[in-house]
Symmetry: C2
Subunit: 497 residues, 2 copies
C-alpha cells in the first residue's frame, strides 16, 4: 500500500515537473504566437495533477493511512504527513469555487496591469475586493486551529508562523531599523555612488555573474541561467534547478545581486537529499526558509566586504577600464548605500524589511479587521510616510506596485522579511562553527555551502521552518541578529564609530 501511495505521488510530481518545464519555456523563449496553445497544454497537465491530488484514490490513501499509520515506514509517515497537509488545503475547497477563483485571478492580472498603466487603483479595486472575498470564503475551509483569519494565510506560506509572533518580531525590527536610520541621518557620511550606473555590457555582466554563481557552488551541470522579464528560480528536479535574470546595462548590481539571489534558491534545491525525489518532501521547506537561502547569498554574502575583496578584481578584469579609477573601498561602500525608496524591489538591504512590515500590517487589517478597501491607498501612503519618510505620488509607485495580490497571494509578503531574519540568524550561528568572512576571502566557499546543506538544504520539506532554524541555530526566530547585522554593516559603510 505504501508503494502504491508513493507511486501515486510520483505521478503527481512528474506532471508538475512537466507543467514547470512548460512554464519555464513560456517565459524564456517560446514563440510569441504560441501562447494560446501553451495555455491549453499547461491547463490540461495541471488539471491531471490536480485531479490526482484530490481524486478518490488520494482520498482513500488519506483515510487509510490516517487509520493505519503503523503500516507506513518512517519515511512513508513523513511523506504522508506532508501529503495530507497539501491534500487538506486542496480538497476542502469545492472544485467549482477553485476554478472560479482561478478564472478571477487571470482576469485580475490584466486588471492590475491596466490599473498600473493608468496609475489608478480605482480600476483594480473591485477585482481586488472579489479576490479578498474568495480568500475570506476559503479561510474557514482551510482553518485548523489558527488564532485569527490572517494566521490561516500565514500558515500556508510559513507553517507554524502566527500574527502573535510576527507582531512582536516586526515591531522589534521596525524600531531597530528606524534607530539605525536615525543614526545614519545624524552622523553618517554618504558613500559615492555615481559609478554604479556606468555602462557595463550584458555580455560582461553575464561572464562575471556566471563566475560568481559558480564560486558560490551553484552547479551549472544541474542548472542554467536564462533571461526573463521577471527573474525566478524554477526547480524541475534537484538536478535541474534553473535560474533567470534580467539585465540593465546602466545598473550592473541589479543582475549581479539578482543572479546571486536566484542562485541561492537554486543551491538549496540542488542539495535536497535525493531520497525525497518525487514526493512532496522534495523542494524547500517554506517560502521563508527559501528566502533565507536566497537572501543569505544575495545580502549576507553579496554584502560582505571579504566577498567583494575577492570578486571585485574579477569584475574589474572583465570590465576593462570601466572601474579602473574606483578603489575597493569606494566600490564596496557605493554598493551598500541605503536610501528610502517607494518601490520594494528597488530598496536596499536596510530599508527592505520596512516595505514588508507595511504590507503585513495592511494584510492583517484586511483579513482581521475588515478594512474598507477604498481606504487602501491612503493607508499605504500614510505608512510609507511614517516609516520611510517619503510619500508615493501616485498608485503605481504605491499600492499598485506588487503583483502578489492580483494572484490572490495574501500572507506571502512576510516570508521575505522572515527569510532575511533567518539569514542573519544563520550567519550568526555559522560564525560559531566557521569564520565566514575568512572563508569568503578564500577561493573556496565550500565550507559555507556545506554548512547550509547539512543544516537546511538536505532536509527538503521534511522539517518545519521553526524546527530547522532551532536545530541550525540553537534557538527560535530571533530578530535581534538581523538588527545587529544591519547596525554593524551600515555603521561601517557610513563611517559611524
Amino acid at each position: 500500500m505504501e508503494t502504491k501511495f508513493l507511486a501515486h505521488l510520483r505521478e503527481i510530481a512528474l506532471l508538475q515537473e512537466a507543467v514547470g518545464l512548460a512554464e519555464w519555456d513560456s517565459q524564456t523563449g517560446m514563440p510569441e504566437d504560441a501562447a494560446d496553445y501553451r495555455a491549453d497544454m499547461s491547463s490540461y497537465l495541471s488539471g491531471l495533477a490536480f485531479d490526482k491530488l484530490t481524486n478518490q484514490e488520494m482520498a482513500n490513501y488519506m483515510a487509510y493511512f490516517t487509520e493505519h499509520p503503523d503500516e507506513l515506514s518512517e519515511f512513508g509517515q513523513a511523506v504522508f504527513a506532508k501529503a495530507k497537509e497539501n491534500y487538506e488545503l486542496d480538497a476542502n475547497i469545492p472544485a467549482d469555487r477553485n476554478q472560479a477563483f482561478s478564472r478571477l485571478t487571470s482576469i485580475a492580472h490584466s486588471k492590475w496591469v491596466e490599473a498600473r498603466k493608468q496609475k489608478n487603483y480605482g480600476i483594480f479595486k473591485d477585482t481586488l475586493e472579489e479576490i479578498i472575498a474568495f480568500q475570506k470564503e476559503f479561510i474557514p475551509l482551510w482553518r485548523k486551529d489558527e488564532a485569527t483569519p490572517y494566521d490561516v494565510l500565514l500558515n500556508q506560506y510559513e507553517p507554524g508562523m502566527t500574527t502573535a509572533i510576527l507582531d512582536k518580531v516586526f515591531e522589534q525590527v521596525k524600531l531597530g531599523i528606524m534607530a539605525i536610520r536615525q543614526e545614519i541621518a545624524d552622523k553618517g557620511t554618504a558613500p559615492r555612488t555615481d559609478f554604479i550606473h556606468r555602462y557595463v555590457p550584458v555580455e560582461q555582466q553575464r561572464e562575471f555573474v556566471i563566475q560568481v554563481a559558480k564560486d558560490l557552488n551553484y552547479d551549472f551541470n544541474r542548472g542554467r541561467l536564462d533571461d526573463t522579464v521577471h527573474p525566478f528560480m524554477l526547480n524541475l528536479n534537484r538536478n535541474d534547478a534553473r535560474i533567470t535574470t534580467r539585465w540593465d546595462e546602466h545598473d550592473f548590481p541589479m543582475a549581479t545581486l539578482g543572479v546571486i539571489h536566484e542562485a541561492g534558491h537554486g543551491i538549496y534545491e540542488q542539495n535536497v537529499d535525493a531520497k525525497y525525489d518525487y514526493t512532496p518532501l522534495a523542494g524547500g521547506a517554506s517560502m521563508g526558509i527559501h528566502e533565507s537561502q536566497s537572501l543569505f547569498h544575495e545580502i549576507i554574502i553579496g554584502g560582505s566586504e571579504s566577498f567583494w575583496q575577492r570578486e571585485y578584481p574579477l569584475l574589474q578584469k572583465i570590465t576593462g577600464e570601466t572601474f579602473a579609477d574606483i578603489d575597493f573601498e569606494t566600490f564596496y561602500k557605493g554598493l551598500k548605500e541605503t536610501k528610502a525608496s517607494l518601490v520594494r524591489i528597488e530598496s536596499d538591504s536596510l530599508t527592505y524589511p520596512l516595505h514588508i512590515i507595511i504590507r503585513y500590517e495592511i494584510e492583517k487589517m484586511i483579513f482581521n479587521d475588515n478594512l474598507d478597501l477604498g481606504d487602501l491607498p491612503t493607508i499605504w501612503n500614510d505608512k510609507y510616510e511614517e516609516y520611510l519618510g517619503i510619500r508615493p505620488e501616485n498608485d503605481l509607485e504605491g499600492i499598485l506596485q506588487d503583483v502578489h495580490w492580483s494572484g490572490g497571494s495574501f500572507g506571502y509578503f512576510p516570508s521575505y522579511a522572515l527569510g532575511y531574519m533567518y539569514a542573519a540568524q544563520l550567519y550568526h550561528a555559522m560564525n560559531q562553527d566557521i569564520d565566514v568572512e575568512a572563508v569568503l576571502a578564500t577561493t573556496d566557499y565550500t565550507p559555507i555551502t556545506n554548512w547550509l546543506t547539512t543544516r537546511i538544504h538536505q532536509y527538503g520539506s521534511s522539517r518545519k521552518p521553526n524546527q530547522l532554524i532551532k536545530e541550525a541555530t540553537g534557538e527560535g526566530l530571533n530578530p535581534q541578529y538581523l538588527i545587529d547585522y544591519m547596525r554593524k554593516l551600515y555603521f561601517k559603510v557610513y563611517g559611524i564609530k
Copy 2:
C-alpha cells in the same frame, strides 16, 4: 460521441506535445546531469499517451465508429480514419513486446555508438539481428494487404508506397543519375570550390540564415532557431514549429542549407489548417511529403541561381571582405559542385539519391530475401563501388554511418528520395502557374509559399501522399522531373551544352 472521441484525441495530442517539449529541451539546453530525471518524465508522459492510444476507451471508439460511421460528421470521419490507422499499428503489437523492443533500441544506440568508435560492424551485428527479428515478428501483425514484408514497412512511412513502384522509379533515377555523372566526367568543367571553406564566424552565419529563413516565410513568431548536435524540426503545434542547426565555421553551406531544410519542414507545419489542431490530421502527411517540403526549400530554392542572385549580396554584406574576391558565378557554381562521397549526409544533390537507393536495395534484401547479416558490409561496399565508384575503407564510413537502423527505422530511407522526386515534380507543376525563378529574383517569395500551402500544407495528414501529389501536379509520382531538373542544373554548372 464524436465530441467525446475528439476530446480523447485532444488529450493524446496534448500529452504528445508535452513529450515533444521535453525532447526539444533535452536536446537544446537541459542541464547535463538532469538526463535521468528527464527520462523518468518523458517515459511517464509517453506512457500516458500510449495508454490513451490503446486503452479500452479507444478500443470502444474504434469498434463503435466502425459500426456507425454515419454518426460522424465529415470531419469526424476523416479524423477517425487516420486515428484507426494509427490505432491498428499500435494496438496490434502486444504491450510487452513493444516495451522489449523499446528497451532493445535504447541499448542498440549505445552499441552502434561503440561500434562506430571501433569502426567495427561486428560489435553491432548481433544487436542489429535482434532488431530485425523484432521487425519480422511485428510485420505480420501490422500487415494488411501489402504484397511483401518490406512493403509493410514502407507503408508506415509513406502510406500507399510499394516496392513495385519503387523498384521501377529507383531504377529510372539510378540510370538517369549515372548518365548525368558520365557526361560530367566526360565533358564537364569542375567549378572552383576552395572558398567554400573560408572562415565564417557563427554569428555571421546566424544573421544570414535567419534573414534567409524569414525571406522564405518561416515565421519566427511561431518558431525559433536553436543549436543542437543533430539538426531537426519539431512542431509542438502549428504556432510552435521549432528548428535547430549545427554550425561549422569552415563550411558555411552546411548550416545555411541545413536551416533552409528545417525551415521547409517548419513552414509546412506552420501552414497546416488550424481546424486539424489536436487531431491526428495535424502535422505533415508522410515522411516523403515532409521531405518534399524541406528539400524543395533546401535543394530547389537553395540551389536556384535566381535565389542566390538575391541572397549572395546579403551574405557578402554580412561577411565583410570574406567573399569580396568571389564573383557570383564562381560562388554559385562552387556551391553546386558534385562529387562522389561515402557519407550520405555529406553528399551533394546529384549523388544523394544513389545513397538512398543503396539502402533501399539492402533493406529489401533483409526483409524480403532474408539476407545473411554477416554479408552486409561487403554488399554495402560493393554497391558503393558499383554506383558511386568509391569504396569505404572501414565500417564507420560504410555500413555504420546512419543512426536509423539502430532505432528500428527500416523503410524510412526511401522517404528522402521520394521527397526529392516530389519536390522536383512540384517545382515543375508550380512553374505552370507562376514563374518560380522570376519570383525568386524578387524580394517577396510569398507566391511560392502560397502555392505550396494551397496544394500541400493546409491539408495536414487529411490526404494521402499520392492524392496530394496527383492533385498538386496532375499526375502520380514521376521521377523524370527529377532527372530533367538535375540534368539541366548540373550541365549548366559544369558548362555542358
